[in-house]
């Protein structure tokens, strides 16, 4: 009985998640026309390419920087919202979560337009301060900066909401006790807020690390990997190699390099989630 209720779920996971995952490993060992087994030739080919190492480095820079700033910004904004009188919180929360609600493909188009080389609204505004024009997407440094900026814009609200929920669950008595003991604001954050929110921070950060590391939409629409492949991350490069240049085995190979980092993050999340389950 119970088995039949879960059967569709099991079939879905087995056929459309597990099977493709293993199939991907099989594909990665074939040659471009997918008729010959070549072993690890695709992998060794990648190791010899500079672009590949650039993608590895850019993926790590992109994911770590973006997640760090998302977490920091989310934490700060959550505190400010938490400071407000309870009545006004809803309105602000609603406004600040908007970036997360808009489909990223749509909002990235707006950013693309804001970054437009000749009509950039940012450059228009900056010109009044005597700054710029900034080549937002044309220059390697600025293009990397821009994709991270858009990712932070999109993802920070998620952290804000998670932290806000966590902040509300910290009992007020702890702060009162800390205040009586003469703790200043920094000590209160360090010794009360952070330990109480430790688990939620860990889960949110790891989760975001997975999503950011595997990001596709933002980089694809904003730069398509350019200029000179400098903003490519694993997903966009795998798309370019595997689908656009139709070298499916090599594309599968590229995307498989995401697995180790995703797996490590997943293991830690699972540990924290089950810990939470045991506490409750």
């Amino acid at each position: 009985m119970a088995f039949f209720l879960t059967l569709p779920l099991i079939l879905l996971i087995a056929l459309l998640v597990l099977y493709p995952a293993f199939y991907s490993m099989h594909l990665a060992t074939l040659n471009k026309s997918m008729q010959k087994f070549v072993g690890f030739a695709n992998f060794t080919f990648l190791f010899k390419r500079d672009t590949f190492w650039m993608v590895v480095r850019q993926s790590c820079i992109f994911a770590i920087t973006a997640v760090f700033f998302k977490a920091l910004l989310g934490f700060i904004v959550a505190h400010f919202v938490h400071n407000l009188p309870a009545k006004g919180q809803r309105k602000w929360r609603g406004m600040l979560l908007v970036p997360w609600v808009i489909p990223p493909a749509m909002s990235t188009l707006a950013w693309l337009w804001l970054f437009d080389p000749s009509y950039s609204a940012f450059n228009y505004t900056l010109s009044f301060f005597g700054v710029g024009p900034v080549p937002w997407l044309g220059d390697t440094f600025w293009a990397r900066f821009s994709v991270i900026l858009v990712n932070v814009w999109y993802g920070a609200p998620f952290f804000m909401i998670m932290y806000l929920a966590a902040l509300k669950s910290v009992p007020d008595q702890l702060y009162e006790a800390a205040a009586i003991d003469g703790a200043n604001w920094w000590q209160r954050i360090w010794y009360v807020t952070l330990p109480m929110m430790r688990n939620i921070i860990a889960i949110t950060t790891l989760f975001s690390l997975i999503v950011t590391f595997a990001n596709f939409d933002i980089v694809r629409i904003l730069t398509s990997g350019g200029p000179l492949d400098s903003t490519h991350i694993f997903a966009t490069w795998a798309f370019q190699v595997g689908i656009q240049s139709s070298d499916i085995p090599l594309g599968a190979c590229v995307s498989l390099f995401m697995v180790p980092i995703l797996a490590v993050a997943a293991i830690f999340i699972l540990r924290d989630v089950s810990k939470r389950g045991n506490e409750a």
Binding site: M1, F3, M162, R188, I210
Partner: protein
């Protein structure tokens, strides 16, 4: 909470003589100041979409103040909403999202019910597996899935590539794991006495599910539905890989591929399309914000 006032004043002796209410007032002022800054940062792109969508191509290329509309016009909206191509994208997106929501619920509610209440061989492993599946990103699977579809198409002769309906099978891999996971959490929080009482009264498992679990866990169900809808509506990578003909595209892919013609960007129309594409999730969010947030936070806190 006078954290911020002390932040500004620094830990000097003076603080002791300052009144609590003045501390609080300053904390509040600083909070409002920074929140306004963050709100501007958050809302600039959507507002800029709206501004641009109200401009004519002539006004955009005249490069006047980009933050202001001098001659507002609805021409972009009229043009898109009367274009069969755009309506086709909208229709494809709507049908795919709605069917995926229904499929997701049909799969995940029974499964969550079984995993929350009936202990059977491998049930805990399966629950963990569901959560792990939720962590598998689309960018890991699009290449093997693409090849799989090509192989199945060759074997059976059923056209799968470049057809919108193939998305109906693919999207549930993104929605079902999360929905099952949060439904397990909601179902598990229902007191056992409730369904035991129903069983004693002679209700079947199916009746317990439809008469007790679904009504009691309705908030969770709504949160899961919203999640499934927004994920399906926003999905970009799978349709970009699996569909190419103009009449098969969904909204996000349609806007990014057809409205950008070569190097000619018709920004007024692109922004209008993007705004119309963002509208359904935004409208749902505006009316059901609390459910939306419940679904968002449930992922890490439930279970």
């Amino acid at each position: 909470m006078s954290t911020l006032a002390i932040d500004k004043g620094g830990p000097t002796r003076k603080i002791k003589y300052r009144s609590m209410s003045r501390d609080r007032a300053w904390a509040l002022r600083w909070s409002y100041f920074f929140l306004v800054v963050f709100a501007i940062f958050s809302l600039t792109p959507p507002i800029y979409m709206l501004i641009t969508s109200l401009k004519s191509s002539a006004e955009i290329s005249a490069a006047t103040n980009p933050w202001w509309v001098f001659h507002p016009t609805l021409a972009n909206y009229v043009e898109l909403l009367t274009s069969n191509q755009f309506l086709r994208f909208f229709w494809n997106s709507a049908i795919v999202s709605i069917v995926v929501v229904i499929v997701t619920m049909l799969i995940s509610i029974p499964a969550a019910f079984a995993l929350a209440r009936m202990k059977f061989w491998g049930s805990t492993t399966l629950a963990t597996g569901v959560f792990l599946t939720y962590l598998v990103p689309d960018s890991l699977l699009f290449i093997p899935l693409f090849k799989m579809l090509a192989v199945v198409q060759d074997l059976t002769g059923i056209t799968l590539l470049n057809r919108w309906y193939v998305l109906l099978f693919i999207y549930p891999t993104l929605t079902v794991p999360f929905c099952t996971w949060i439904m397990i959490g909601y179902f598990a929080s229902i007191p056992k006495e409730l369904d035991e009482a129903a069983l004693i009264d002679g209700a079947s498992w199916l009746q317990t599910l439809t008469r007790i679990f679904i009504p009691v866990a309705l908030p969770g169900l709504i949160a899961a539905t919203i999640f499934a809808f927004t994920v399906s509506w926003a999905q970009f990578l799978y349709p970009l890989v699996f569909t190419t003909s103009v009449d098969q595209l969904v909204l996000p892919v349609g806007i990014t591929t057809t409205l950008i013609k070569g190097d000619v960007f018709n920004w007024g129309q692109i922004m209008t399309g993007a705004l119309l594409g963002a509208a359904p999730p935004l409208i749902i969010y505006a009316f059901l914000m609390d459910y939306y947030i419940a679904g968002l936070t449930a992922g890490a806190t439930k279970g």
